[in-house]
Subunit: 256 residues, 2 copies
């Protein structure tokens, strides 16, 4: 398996066609997986916003006040409002906002970025990242680049473990996970492992060669990786009833 | 970056020298990262066990009873005892056991494996996986294979997201994470990302080419990946006071 960044992409602007930008710079082969950082997908889709776009509700004002009290740092209630607008559920209010985005991804601040946005205050995540992935995939297909899977990636932290890692937030042209249930080990025992989240692992692999700084390369080609002939599934975000930690957080409040 | 499995490893037995097994089969270069599945590290270190090794405490009996009641499946209290013996804290008792191992890794059943163990009931995780990684690293060095980092990997599930992915549980010859704090984006803004858990991302990348079944290849060489000149840190497992989800789980009980 080989991960190679696509070099010399220009700064992406609203209306840019990512499939075209990539097709002009990378030689893609059938079976390749293309990972695309959500930042450039959002930029192409014009998902920038300004604080002035967010009239503040009582809830956002309360949240911002509590965050200020807990962290001792100034918090703009319009940022809290932007996060609420992008979210279907707030899981943690303080000491930071952890929410579920409307497409099911649980991450701090609904994934809204305050860096990476020239001329605007905020960069929102793509509205429906799997649809974004599908648009890029079919854009490549139209240019004769067939059988390329596309993953839209984000980076975020997680419980229990320090630091951030790459994750998938949208995908097209492949299943999200690979199902090993019923497979046997060398000794003929059924495997302990069940479902492998391959899109997240591909996003993590790509993030190792992406870089975050001024010389970041937001698109990576993964070659010579095969899904294999196991069953696939498109579950990536846990169902509510299957997520004990969500349940625990719903019944918890940060102790100030 | 290239991930290549090491082929033709034999079934690993207690006392086997993993550095020797790998050195005989892979041509390693300075700067390579070697990922090694914890299963074969445990086998080499003789970390097998049998149910008979675990006289059952009242606590283990209680936990097994509750698990039976919740799941409707038979649970061996000796398995619960083995998990307790390997753990420093129980975070979830039901509907499954989520614990922190004595070396800081939070995962179901203290990572104890009931498949993958010929002639025994259980395969425990290595006692101190970073020390295991260091032994393999220095074993390679003795054979003239210098400047190879080693990561001991596990696969496990996570909150919020469905499926399992590869994670690091021990490492040597490189830092666990890469610190981007203070770096600037293209527009000169400070980055939103902070600390990147590179050992976890390497473990995930490797897991894509490892395979889980009878033809699994537990060792992978990652080549042409560079840590770069950013600061590193060896924090991987969150400190208790930094882990809100652990706090929420401590105050939560599964609603039967």
């Amino acid at each position: 398996m080989e991960c190679t960044p696509v070099m010399d992409l220009p700064e992406v602007r609203p209306g840019d066609d990512i499939a075209e930008l990539v097709a002009d710079r990378a030689s893609l082969e059938p079976g390749d997986v293309l990972t695309v950082a959500s930042t450039i997908v959002s930029k192409a889709e014009g998902r920038t916003a300004d604080f002035a776009d967010y009239p503040v509700s009582g809830r956002a004002r309360e949240i911002a006040k509590r965050l200020e009290a807990v962290t001792g740092e100034e918090k703009d209630p319009r940022f809290a409002q932007a996060i609420l607008d992008e979210s279907s559920e707030v899981l943690i209010e303080a000491p930071f906002l952890l929410t579920e985005t409307r497409f099911g991804h649980i991450c701090p601040n609904a994934g809204i970025d305050q860096s990476n946005v020239p001329d605007h205050d905020l960069l929102l995540l793509p509205k429906k990242p799997s649809e974004s992935a599908e648009r890029i995939r079919s854009g490549l297909e139209k240019r004769g680049l067939e059988d390329v899977a596309v993953i839209v990636t984000d980076t975020c932290g997680r419980p229990f473990r320090h630091g951030q890692r790459g994750v998938a937030i949208g995908w097209a042209g492949m299943p999200a996970s690979r199902d090993w249930r019923g497979e046997l080990d060398r000794d003929g025992h059924e495997l302990g492992v069940t479902v492998q989240s391959v899109v997240d692992e591909l996003a993590s692999a790509a993030n190792l060669v992406t870089g975050e700084g001024a010389d970041g390369t937001p698109v990576v080609v993964v070659r010579d990786w095969e899904f294999g002939d196991l069953e696939g599934s498109d579950e990536l975000f846990r169902a509510v009833e299957d997520d004990l930690v969500r349940d625990a957080l719903r019944n918890w409040r940060f102790d100030e």
